[in-house]
């Protein structure tokens, strides 16, 4: 029985293979290559495990400790009201660091994003330079910026604000300039055609198009920065993080769990608030018309 279709010519597999060998896989060679790739990837994985000291034995021994720590955490308790208020104040400080840092980042990033957008500034050199600067700033994590700023302005929340602001300015610069480059040319041209200057073109032609997008991005990063701000507290840049690391070192696990719960509640609240705001800002564009 043949599967050959009467409409597609009469080339049988054997002749086809001899005439067009490159259109057929050579079974041995492709299997060999797949095996080689599989083996070398497994080798890399095993080497990686040995470098970071992954050991199933140590994991099995330690898992019991995790259970006892979890038990020590129950019930979450801050001891007295004074302590609770201290933690609450530190938590508020963390949220403040996130909010101020995010806002400062957005304010710094916006003009840089304009410079980095091809459709706003045609100058290739400025464009390239601002892009690379944003890349560098973005390439360094908040925690490292926190360590840097602590040495510049000393311990405390101010260093935290600066750390969040620096790292996020790099991120916002890139996100903003992408939103700006995706905006339509028509409104900008309309403003220029009436005799408006470049400032007017940005204010009336560009901003109305991009501001809702930018605000929604800023709100999203405010949420995410609230979580980051708890971490940078650990290196002394203000906020709740310092209390967590202190309580862990003093083995006060009930305090630790209480603080973690407080952070979870705060993050959830901010999450709800900001997604509501984002919907209100972006949702209104639903009536979009081409």
């Amino acid at each position: 029985m043949t599967n050959r279709s009467p409409h597609a010519g009469d080339l049988d597999p054997v002749t086809a293979r001899t005439r067009f060998p490159r259109s057929f896989p050579s079974p041995l060679r492709s299997h060999g290559a797949a095996m080689a790739i599989f083996l070398s990837l497994s080798g890399v994985l095993a080497w990686g495990y040995s470098i970071v000291g992954v050991s199933p034995m140590r994991f099995m021994e330690g898992i019991g400790k995790l259970g006892s720590i979890a038990l020590l955490m129950l019930p979450p308790d801050t001891g007295d009201w004074a302590k609770f208020l201290t933690y609450l104040y530190a938590l508020a400080e963390t949220v403040a660091i996130a909010l101020l840092g995010t806002l400062a980042a957005a304010i710094v990033a916006f003009p840089v994003a304009l410079l980095a957008s091809r459709n706003v500034l045609a100058n290739r050199v400025v464009h390239f330079a601002s892009r690379r600067i944003l890349d560098c700033v973005r390439g360094v994590d908040e925690l490292i910026w926190a360590l840097v700023w602590i040495n510049v302005v000393g311990l405390g929340p101010f260093a935290g604000v600066l750390a969040i602001a620096t790292a996020n300015a790099g991120i916002f610069g890139k996100l903003f300039s992408e939103a700006i480059e995706a905006s339509g040319r028509g409104p900008v041209e309309g403003v220029l055609s009436t005799g408006g200057n470049d400032g007017h073109a940005v204010r009336y032609g560009l901003l109305p198009q991009v501001v809702p997008v930018l605000l929604s991005q800023v709100l999203y990063y405010f949420e995410s920065n609230t979580r980051s701000a708890t971490i940078i507290g650990i290196v002394g840049a203000g906020g709740i993080g310092l209390h967590i690391s202190e309580q862990i070192r003093m083995l006060e696990y009930q305090h630790v769990s209480a603080i973690i719960l407080m952070i979870l509640v705060a993050v959830a609240l901010i999450d709800r608030l900001s997604s509501g705001l984002r919907l209100a800002i972006v949702g209104t564009r639903a009536a979009g018309r081409a």
């Binding site: 309309g190 055609s193 009436t194 005799g195 408006g196 400032g199 032609g205 018309r289």
Partner: protein, 269 residues
């Protein structure tokens, strides 16, 4: 008088507008016709200086427009109001603000930046909107309006610029017949009642014949016809439009026109 002298625009190797020379007396209503890609848009955009000419010059009332810079250039753009096929309004702003953008160069830069429009400017914008029955929609977000309504807002914006010249680039290309008439009547009113010179790129020849007192035909960047509408014979028009003749002359759509039902086209069995 607007004088265009040897105006040329090259995009790389391609010549979009090729040594165009025209003299347009004040108060005329000129239609620029020709197939898509003939250079009509580029010509208009060079007059308003949204596009920079490669060579040649444009002068208005003796002033060399092509040499203007900074505040003088913005003053010229305000004098030479532009109307676009895609309206180029700011969709997220309300109708009123879009019309007030026509007053940007009349207000001080700082007031314009902050949107502190004077009561006089507001009244002017409303009366311009009222001319086109649009004043009731002044507070509405512009992107919620229909295409015809948006083009009327754009004409109101041009009107409050208090221009001496209106450059309309295919203003009716995306409009239905009723709005086509409203928009063209609006341009005619600016021309007749305010003495504003109108230069209008048009694709549809019947509209061009009905409204313009002079037609300029362009092909491949050059002016190949320049006379009163009556002198454009059917064969000249066919020559000007080539394959697009049927569409431009308002004949029954050919079967290969996208979206147009092929009423009488025979269907191969």
């Amino acid at each position: 008088m607007l004088a265009i002298d040897g105006l040329t625009k090259r995009f790389g190797e391609k010549v979009a507008v090729d040594r165009v020379s025209l003299e347009i007396p004040a108060g005329s209503f000129v239609g620029v016709i020709g197939r898509s890609g003939a250079g009509k848009s580029t010509l208009l955009r060079m007059i308003n200086r949204l596009a920079e000419p490669t060579s040649g010059r444009v002068s208005f009332a003796g002033v060399d427009v092509t040499a203007l810079r900074g505040a003088a250039l913005r003053r010229w753009r305000r004098d030479a109001a532009m109307i676009f096929q895609q309206f180029n309004l700011v969709g997220r702003l309300d109708v009123m603000t879009n019309v007030l953008l026509g007053r940007l160069d009349h207000a001080t830069p700082a007031r314009a930046m902050l949107g502190l429009w004077s009561d006089e400017d507001r009244a002017l914008a409303l009366s311009a909107l009222d001319l086109f029955d649009m004043a009731a929609l002044a507070a509405q977000r512009t992107e919620t309006l229909s295409g015809g309504q948006q083009q009327r807002v754009a004409i109101a914006r041009a009107l409050v610029q208090e221009p001496r010249l209106v450059l309309a680039d295919e203003p009716i290309a995306s409009l239905d017949p009723r709005n086509t008439r409203l928009v063209m009547d609006g341009l005619q009113r600016m021309n007749r009642d305010y003495g504003i010179t109108v230069i209008c790129n048009l694709h549809a020849l019947d509209v061009a014949r009905a409204y313009c007192d002079r037609l300029v035909g362009m092909r491949a960047g050059r002016v190949v016809f320049d006379a009163a509408p009556e002198e454009l014979t059917e064969s000249l028009a066919r020559d000007l439009y080539g394959l697009e003749a049927g569409e431009a002359l308002g004949e029954v759509a050919s079967p290969d026109d996208a979206g147009a039902p092929a009423v009488s086209a025979p269907v191969a069995a």
